[in-house]
Structures are given as structure tokens and as C-alpha cells.
């Protein structure tokens, strides 16, 4: 199923280093700002949260919806993006 966006492919293709949260698939400017307000200013911090939730995409999706009001599509896109990154680099 290759319905991934360019943003997704860009993120998953290399180590995230110091990329901002907006580099994550599904996270645009609005959600990015909300994440930064919550203290998640870099992609690796969001990765930290993903890892804390034991790399459970469902749990992470719920967390995104709950904390920043992301919709299902955005949240699952971000979760999938992080999961694939972890599979590749972690």
C-alpha cells in the first residue's frame, strides 16, 4: 500500500536529527504550534512520547487526538510515520 506522502517518505528516509515537529507526516503548522505549546518542540521529543507509549500506534494516535486535537487521519499518519522511522533506524 504505497499511499504515503512525500513528507512521509522524506521523514522516514533519514535520521530525524533536529528536525522540527512540522517535518512529521500529518503535522502541519497548526498542529505543530500546538505541540510546541505542549513542550514538544522537536520531532525527537514526539518520538520520545511515541517510545514511552511502547511504539503502540493506536495509543499514540489517541494521545495526539487527545492532547492537540488532531483528527484521525493526521494522527494515524504521524503514528505510521514514526513507526516506520523506528523500524528503519531504531
Amino acid at each position: 500500500m504505497s499511499t504515503t506522502s512525500q513528507k512521509h517518505r522524506d521523514f522516514v528516509g533519514e535520521p530525524m536529527a533536529d528536525k522540527p515537529v512540522t517535518a512529521l507526516s500529518g503535522i502541519g503548522e497548526t498542529l505543530g504550534k500546538k505541540l510546541e505549546e505542549n513542550g514538544f518542540d522537536k520531532a525527537y521529543v514526539v518520538l520520545g512520547q511515541f517510545l514511552l507509549l511502547r511504539k503502540d500506534t493506536e495509543m499514540f494516535t489517541d494521545w495526539l487526538k487527545d492532547s492537540i486535537g488532531a483528527n484521525s487521519r493526521q494522527a494515524s499518519s504521524c503514528a505510521q510515520c514514526l513507526k516506520e522511522w523506528c523500524d528503519a533506524f531504531l
Binding site: 512520547q49 517510545l51 495509543m59 487527545d66
Partner: protein, 275 residues
């Protein structure tokens, strides 16, 4: 002139409920909310922090609505709207703390370890409970607890209904069995709802033993039949096939006995011929 508040509290199974009545139309929204907040606190339920959308009486609207937000913004509780009654001159507004909110607030008081244990209990796989994850786990646990309580209560009702239905079926079929002098319990099973056969069959068998002693009243039977058919339409349909099946089994018996009789006759003549 001071505003007089009449505050009442009712406890019911849906959660703590309170109401505050203002004596005067000039009461400010905030003041009424403060009373409600205090009452909520006194009731031992979660602290309610804010109120929104309380409509002004000046607009002529008689049914105000108010949504009180929980401190942690876990959920909001809708407030009763009430018309000014004849004995009160002002607005009345009540609050009802939803069960889920109560649950969640009590969960927030639990330690990390206790929360972790509860999560495991409800089969929720969880990671470390830290600041950023706690809120999520609390809401998940609250939902799981609510679902569990709803499930058990609905199951109970369902089971109770099933029990009732099964008893009635057995009464009815026991009576028919007495008339037809046929003690096969399988026929009763066929009357049962197909989706709950496993539960019902056991019950039916158990209750058939009892009916050997008891005599069902015709009135109750008739009434029971009515109630059963009203609760479940499939019972009407199942009545006919069971009738057909009873005659069908009779035919089957005949079909089995006939060849046996023929066979025995043939053997007899063969024996007689030999002799």
C-alpha cells in the same frame, strides 16, 4: 439586599446532583455558578471549574443551559435547565456530575503504581506512567471502566430477560409435552432463539426437570405466551415449525418401525418355510 440561594442535593445512581435556586432575576451568572461549584465540592465530587453559555434571563429564554467544565477538561457536564417555578423568583440551575467524570477524577488521585495495576487489570497495555502519558492512561482507564460497568449491567438485564424467556418457553413446551406424551427436550431447544442457544439449552433442560412436579396454570401460560411473543417476534414463527417437527418425528418413527416390522415378518416366514 442579599440573594438567597436554595440549594438541594439529590443522590441517584447517575451521580451526584445538585441544584441552586436564585431568589432574584438580577442574579449574576458568576454568582450562581459559584454556588454550584461550592455545592459540587461539598458533595465530594470533583471540583467544577468553569461555566459557559449560561443564558441571561433578560433575553426571555426560560431554559438556560450551562456547561460546567472540569478542571482537567476531561469532560463537561450538562446542567439541568429549569423554568422559574412559581415559588421562586429567579433562575434555577442544577448540575449533574457524570459518572465518567467522577471516575476520572478519582483516578487522578491514584498513584502511578495503582494506575498501572488498574490498567493491567483491564488489559490495557501501557508504558511508563509519566507526566505526558498519565492523562491518556487515565482517560483510557475511565472509558474501560465505564464500558465494563455498562457491559455487566446490560449483560445482567439480557441474561435476566433470557432467564425469563426460557422459563416461559419451558412452561409452554412442558405443557405441550404433557399433552403429546413426549419427553424429548430437544423440541424445547428448537423454540429457543438461535443466537443464544448455548445458554438457553442448559436452562431449558434444568427447568424441564422442575416442571415434572409443577403444573403450569393455563392463565399464566396464556399470559406468558403473550408476553413472550411481544418481546420476541421470532417466537411466533418458531411455534409453527415446532408443530411441524413434532408430526415429522412421528412420521420418522413410523418409517423406522415399518421396515423393522416387514423385516421381522420376512424372517418369520422364512423360518416357517425352512421348518
Amino acid at each position: 439586599m442579599e440573594n438567597v440561594y436554595h440549594v438541594t442535593q439529590i443522590a441517584d445512581d447517575k451521580g451526584p446532583v445538585g441544584s441552586a435556586l436564585s431568589a432574584d432575576y438580577s442574579i449574576k451568572t458568576k454568582a450562581l455558578v459559584t454556588v454550584l461549584q461550592n455545592e459540587a465540592r461539598l458533595a465530594g465530587s470533583a471540583v467544577i471549574c468553569g461555566c459557559a453559555n449560561l443564558t441571561s434571563p433578560n433575553s426571555g429564554e426560560v431554559t438556560p443551559t450551562c456547561e460546567l467544565y472540569c478542571c482537567a477538561q476531561l469532560s463537561f457536564v450538562s446542567v439541568h435547565a429549569a423554568q422559574p417555578s412559581s415559588y421562586s423568583k429567579g433562575w434555577s440551575a442544577g448540575w449533574r456530575m457524570s459518572e465518567s467524570v467522577c471516575l476520572q477524577m478519582s483516578l487522578s488521585e491514584k498513584s502511578d503504581e495503582e494506575l498501572g495495576n488498574l490498567l493491567s487489570q483491564y488489559g490495557i497495555k501501557h508504558g511508563p506512567i509519566v507526566g505526558s502519558t498519565r492523562h491518556l492512561y487515565e482517560s483510557k482507564l475511565g472509558k474501560a471502566m465505564e464500558q465494563a460497568s455498562v457491559k455487566t449491567s446490560s449483560d445482567k438485564t439480557y441474561y435476566r430477560e433470557e432467564e425469563e424467556e426460557v422459563t416461559y418457553i419451558t412452561y409452554h413446551s412442558a405443557a405441550t409435552r404433557k399433552r403429546s406424551a413426549n419427553t424429548k427436550p430437544e423440541r424445547a431447544d428448537r423454540c429457543c432463539l438461535p443466537r443464544c442457544q448455548s445458554v438457553l439449552t442448559c436452562r431449558v433442560k434444568r427447568s424441564t426437570e422442575q416442571h415434572g412436579v409443577e403444573r403450569p396454570d393455563a392463565d399464566t401460560e396464556a399470559a406468558v405466551q403473550v408476553t413472550y411473543s411481544s418481546t420476541n417476534h421470532t417466537s411466533v414463527r418458531s411455534g409453527e415449525p415446532t408443530g411441524d417437527k413434532s408430526t415429522g418425528s412421528l412420521w420418522k418413527m413410523i418409517l423406522v418401525l415399518l421396515p423393522l416390522a416387514v423385516l421381522s415378518a420376512v424372517c418369520y416366514y422364512a423360518y416357517a418355510y425352512i421348518v
